[in-house]
Amino acid sequence: MLQVDGVSKSYASHQALRDVSFEVAPGEIVAILGPNGAGKSTLMSLIVGLLKPDIGSVTIGGVDPTRMSQSQRSGIGFAPQELGLYPSATVEENLQYFAGLTGAGKKAVRRMARDAAEVFRVEDLFPRRISTLSGGEKRRVHSAIALVARPRLLLLDEPTVGVDVGTRREVIAAVRQLADDGVAVCYSTHYLPEVETLAARVVLLHHGRKVVDGPLAEMWRNDDRSRITFTFDGEAPLLQGTERKGDTLQIEHVGNPGEFVAVFFRSHAHELRNLKAVEIERPSLEDLLIALAPDLGTPGGEIK
């Protein structure tokens, strides 16, 4: 569906993207991650055809987005990071306007607006003017507009910025459903738990370069670090190679944690008399990404 091939883009002396390549298949969600200034929005703009790459190519269904016909362009749904809505118009008018731009007839425009509204649950807001909506409602309408043309490729640039927990869940559920229906999705975000919920493939950008590209499950499989926590009834015993914190002992382990715990039990059976619980914690997505690009964890490069 989408093919990004060796794309580089510069603004004056600043190189925003360097040799970035990846593909997105129908029904796949690709989470584009990276700190501020990593090149996520530039990449989105290139994919949608707002910018032309200096080097490399972007194709959607084999066609360069900057050379697409109007009907081909309708196959791309785009919700930029910045909210783009007409404040004095109603929600319905906003949706119908963008549906109308596809060249559809009157009846089809109404149906397209209603269908898109249903996905992001904004149909109850139809008669309200945008200026009267809350931030989360505006964000949902903004995302719904990207769906009016029933796109085959959907690009959502930070669709959950500034929204409450409920709205976030609704947006994620809607995106998951769209992918299940065969839509290819590029989803840029700073919120890593969303990526886990979406079970998205991760493309991590850093300083304009792609530093990670792979499914979450594979990333976890390839990282065999774990944190094993033993909780005791009372004060934890002092054991070599462990970190004691009150009633717990913590061990950072690399390798199979199950085997390690079995061996640990055998060799410390006496000290583990008062053991209450054992918890094996796999690294979070944040831990995985920081391990791959260490300065992501520093200020300015933060991920949430």
């Binding site: 949608v48 362009r73 791309i76 783009g84 731009l101």
Partner: protein, 258 residues
């Protein structure tokens, strides 16, 4: 057909936005009416002193104020474009519609309609209440009004491409308004302006609009055929400014709206 329907969506949307600004357009109609009524006696004195004994003054103030206040459309064209940047809808329009050039041209149809309506309504008002009579050709009046409207809208498009912010547009549009109004003979007949101003006058579209319109309203004017030349010059200015817009228009350029 698809393109036509999508452009119709742009027109409908722009009309809906224009409806929210009805009061602005009402002001655009009323201010020139007040100024016309105020200056008509003085304009009559000037025209009679210039050898037009039957002139009432309406022959100068009605077309003059109409073409001068019509220049407000230049700002309307620019703001209609810059509004998309202010609402952050421009990028979306660029990728979801029939293309930025077509969208801009279609958006310009609404200001074109407004200026045509304004020029026509003010002429009809002049005829109904200020004693304006068409002694020449109605076709000539319609032709000059039409070409003036097209010319102003094209100037607006060019200005929208060259300026970077609404503030720049506002300053330049006001400056154009005053300069073109004064120099072009919309305020006072060019014959009473200083010689240097009379030399500069033909460089303004208002001059050509007045050259085409005024003889149609003056009894016994020998220049009633001037409307053809005026129409041609106005359309030539429109073509040049439209070409300048097309050359300078960069859809990816960010404009600052207030």
């Amino acid at each position: 057909m698809i393109r036509l329907r999508s452009l119709r969506a742009v027109v409908r949307h722009e009309l809906a936005i224009a409806r929210d600004h009805t009061i602005d357009f009402v002001i655009m109609f009323f201010i020139p009416i007040v100024v016309m009524a105020f200056f008509k006696p003085a304009a009559g004195i000037i025209l009679r002193a210039q050898g037009m004994p039957l002139a009432s003054g309406a022959e100068q103030v009605v077309p003059g104020m109409a073409v001068m206040f019509g220049l407000f459309v230049v700002g309307l064209v620019c703001f209609s474009a810059y509004r998309e940047h202010g609402y952050a809808t421009w990028d979306r329009l660029r990728v979801s519609g029939p293309g930025p050039t077509q969208i801009m041209l279609t958006k310009a149809l609404i200001p074109l309609g407004i200026i045509l309506l304004q020029l026509t309504a003010l002429t009809i008002f002049g005829r109904a209440f200020l004693g304006l009579r068409v002694h020449g050709s109605v076709i000539a009046v319609a032709s000059v009004i039409g070409s003036t409207a097209i010319c102003y809208v094209c100037i607006g498009l060019a200005l929208s491409a060259f300026c970077r912010s609404s503030q720049q547009v506002s300053i330049l549009a006001n400056l154009l308004n005053v300069l073109m109004g004064m120099l072009g003979g919309a305020f006072l007949p060019t014959g009473v302006l200083p010689k240097w101003a009379q030399h500069l006058a033909p460089a303004t579209p208002t001059y050509w609009a007045m050259q085409g319109l005024r003889p149609q309203f003056l009894a016994g004017s020998t220049e009633q055929g001037a409307w053809i030349r005026a129409t041609c010059v106005l359309l030539a200015i429109a073509t040049v400014t439209l070409a300048a817009w097309r050359l300078r228009f960069r859809p990816e350029e960010r404009k600052q709206h207030w």
